[in-house]
Symmetry: C2
Subunit: 218 residues, 2 copies
Amino acid sequence: MHSGRKQDDGERYRAIMETAARLICERGYEGTSMQEIAAACRMTKAGLYHHVQNKEQLLFDIMSYGMSAFEQDVLDKVAPMPDPVERLRECMRLNIHLVTGGCSKEVIIILHEHATLTGEARSFIDQRKKRYVRFLEDSFAEAVRTGRIRPVQPTVAAFSFLGMVLWIYKWFQPDGRLSATQVADEMVDLLFTGLVAPGSAASPLLSLVAPKSVEGMS
Amino acid sequence: MHSGRKQDDGERYRAIMETAARLICERGYEGTSMQEIAAACRMTKAGLYHHVQNKEQLLFDIMSYGMSAFEQDVLDKVAPMPDPVERLRECMRLNIHLVTGGCSKEVIIILHEHATLTGEARSFIDQRKKRYVRFLEDSFAEAVRTGRIRPVQPTVAAFSFLGMVLWIYKWFQPDGRLSATQVADEMVDLLFTGLVAPGSAASPLLSLVAPKSVEGMS
């Protein structure tokens, strides 16, 4: 009985988070009141507070849920891949599908409300975000070190990757001219095809196309 | 006398916009009250309303100011350049300097408060943004058509460009390890060096590195 009750509470809380995420995504955190969240959940405000400590806790839980979905569907899947370029390409592809798919509202909230949380809650989310940035920087650095791509600055490459992928929520339309798969294929091609060093640093390709970048290549 | 008075009013209004932009950038539009803007301007709320019709008008004017700065410092400078790749490279460089430089708070507000304006004000700003997207799409399409770059989907290329450049406001620190010029040089290299077709579509480079992309290239 007790665990059944707990499960019901858990399901109820997921449903509240889902509804709150939809509202916050549409109207912003400041523009959404607990009263409105309660009404959208067909609850009284007092009933809502039975499940939710406060609005900031709800925002933190929505962001944590989004980060967990990202870690499970993207990071954990690609982190074990041995080749850094294949790892980065697959990571971009999976992250694009996360942004264009079911978790897009949690992703939007993580991005848009980045400065809304305070204190420990904010630094907890920030640390999970930083883990992703470091993963990308490390993978780009490894790809350069092993001669798999021409030399790039890993931090700029990591944030370029993130900018391309995360900006998608601003322009992509699920029912638009371009499918999520097309966007993913095109973006992976845009960023990686030109970076991949074809076998050797002395390739005529590199001296022809990127004379400056060859400097410092082993 | 009359034109002197008008000039004073204009200067005063610029100072109000500057202060309001700083507050809105820090706290968000919803999180900033007219009372707080007045206090930061060392004015009474009634005094502020002598210069400002309402908060939405102030937001619109800040965004218009940011768009004008962008058009003057970036778009108008690069639009006449005959070569589409040089045009895009220079456009990325100038836009990065705008985002990392003095106009960053207006840029952040344009990006962050994109859904705050309503009605005509919103569609006016949206049209100016769309003009930039079209300019980028047209330039990428021209670069493909004239064989200056390997085939890419112009819309995905345009939004990848924008994502890379506009995401910078989220991570760049003016006093950090990387200078604005370094970021600009690295990003231009990341996106364009690998795209530039070296002379001919039959180049061994293209068949080696990007077999899929050669399809449909004239």
